[in-house]
């Protein structure tokens, strides 16, 4: 097997194959990065809406709860198909990449919203009381008091989710998005050794996820709420 791989190496790492993998890596990176950024932003927003106990916020609270509970329970592949067929039914001529992007954003938002909510709720109730007693608004309480203390609870599971999420984007290959898993399947179908092809795909996924995990650790240390812990 090793002989076969060594023989295939020059042909496998040809300019066009490398370009093909680079493009696939770019797609996986784009799906992951946009999904993470959008998911984190909207997830934070939904978590904040969900924790707001003011009566006027009830409709938004119910809507965000329904969204989170729904999309956390639907498998990613089903969400992907759902988005694909809904847009097809609406005769919207969307690129497969856009369909996959919408799906990853929906899933990331739902999962991250729940992680953020639990992180915000982990901050002791007396911190909210003190802020309210000092006339902080809800947003000021979140921004100045609660979120800075919740980072260390939120960040580890969020970055853990991001790493899982990068791997989940492989499911976008099911609707024909040429990302890393799709590129691997294509190269394998061209006759290259599966070990060589998927070994390369593995290395590329690792290249994406490892720096992200390291970055998460760095942020975790940097945003720790006090110097004593």
């Amino acid at each position: 097997m090793l002989d076969q791989i060594l023989q295939e190496l020059p042909r496998f790492f040809s300019y066009y194959n490398l370009l093909f993998f680079a493009k696939a890596l770019g797609v996986t990176f784009a799906l992951s990065a946009i999904g993470c950024v959008v998911g984190f932003s909207l997830g934070f927003l939904l978590a904040a809406v969900r924790l707001d106990t003011r009566p006027a916020g009830r409709p938004l609270r119910v809507a965000s709860t329904v969204f989170i509970e729904l999309f956390r329970r639907i498998p990613f592949l089903v969400t992907l198909m759902l988005v694909f067929f809904i847009f097809q039914g609406l005769n919207a001529d969307l690129a497969m990449f856009t369909v996959a992007l919408i799906s990853v954003c929906l899933i990331a938002t739902a999962f991250i919203a729940e992680i953020v909510r639990s992180g915000l709720e982990s901050v002791h109730r007396n911190q909210w009381d003190a802020a309210v007693a000092m006339n902080f608004s809800y947003l000021q309480t979140l921004r100045l008091v609660i979120v800075p203390q919740a980072w260390k609870i939120i960040l580890p599971p969020v970055f853990g989710f991001f790493v899982l999420f990068i791997k989940d984007t492989a499911l976008a290959s099911q609707i024909g998005v040429v990302e890393l898993a799709f590129a691997g399947k294509t190269m394998n179908n061209k006759g290259f050794s599966a070990t060589l092809v998927y070994g390369t795909v593995l290395a590329l996924y690792f290249m994406l996820s490892y720096p992200l995990a390291r970055f998460g650790k760095h942020l975790e240390k940097k945003l720790a709420p006090t110097r004593n812990r």
Binding site: Q127, D129, A130, A133, M134, F136, L144, T226
Partner: protein, 228 residues
């Protein structure tokens, strides 16, 4: 007219009645201590006064005006005239001592940072924490945190200060000096019936006594006026 008046107040946690028939009035400049066994509802009464827990029945009147707990603007005005020292201090764990004391005047009341910091430094010096300005709450002892909480309450120079066991973790010298800051208009102290009332004589102008038990029951007859 009393600065603070509580009339037939009733407050619940869920279906459990914690306060019932509470009547109390506090005049301007008066110091009031609430005395009672643990769990009798003293802290709950202070939470009601700060608008953190709406009462089921009765009224809280500030300068004669009844407080509407559904009116956010009124609650905001109330809190701008009051400061509280919580029993657990409730210092913001993500902020230094100086940050804890200056955050509200700077961010909420929009006072100039330099002016507020100067005032905060003076107050922290007066409670013996001039060398702890950059320390974080979890780097301080209980007594030090308590003094930060007191400085945080006083930096607003509010007409009314509510303090929940404000001297519980202070030594005798600190108790004297803290109480003699002279700005605590209304304070709830930790002294109970039968305990040494040494500090009570420093702080208490009026003592509300009540009957021990699950429900904190107060009435006019249970109020014992005492001249300091």
């Amino acid at each position: 007219m009393p600065q603070l008046e509580i009339v037939d107040l009733k407050a619940n946690y869920g279906s459990h009645t914690v306060l019932e028939r509470i009547n109390l009035s506090v005049d301007k400049g008066e110091i009031v201590s609430l005395i009672g066994p643990s769990g009798s509802g003293k802290s709950t009464l202070l939470r009601v006064l700060m608008g953190l827990l709406p009462p089921i029945e009765g009224q809280v009147r500030i300068d004669g005006q009844a407080l509407d707990y559904n009116d956010r603007e009124q609650l905001r005005r109330l809190r701008s005239q009051m400061a509280i020292v919580f029993q657990q201090y409730n210092l913001f764990q993500n902020m230094s001592v100086l940050g804890n004391v200056t955050i509200a005047p700077v961010k909420i009341n929009k006072r100039p940072r330099a002016e507020v910091e100067a005032e905060a430094r003076r107050l922290l010096e007066s409670v013996g924490l001039g060398d702890k300005l950059e320390a974080y709450p979890d780097q301080l002892s209980g007594g030090q945190q308590q003094r930060v909480a007191i400085a945080r309450a006083l930096v607003h120079d509010p007409p009314l200060v509510i303090a929940d066991e404000p001297t519980a973790h202070l030594d005798y010298v600190q108790v004297e000096s803290t109480l003699r800051l002279g700005q605590v208009n209304a304070c709830k102290c930790r002294f109970g019936p039968g305990e040494d009332p040494q500090h009570e004589q420093v702080s208490a102008g009026e003592v509300l006594r009540h009957y021990p038990g699950d429900v904190f029951v107060g009435d006019e007859g249970a109020v014992d006026h005492r001249v300091v």
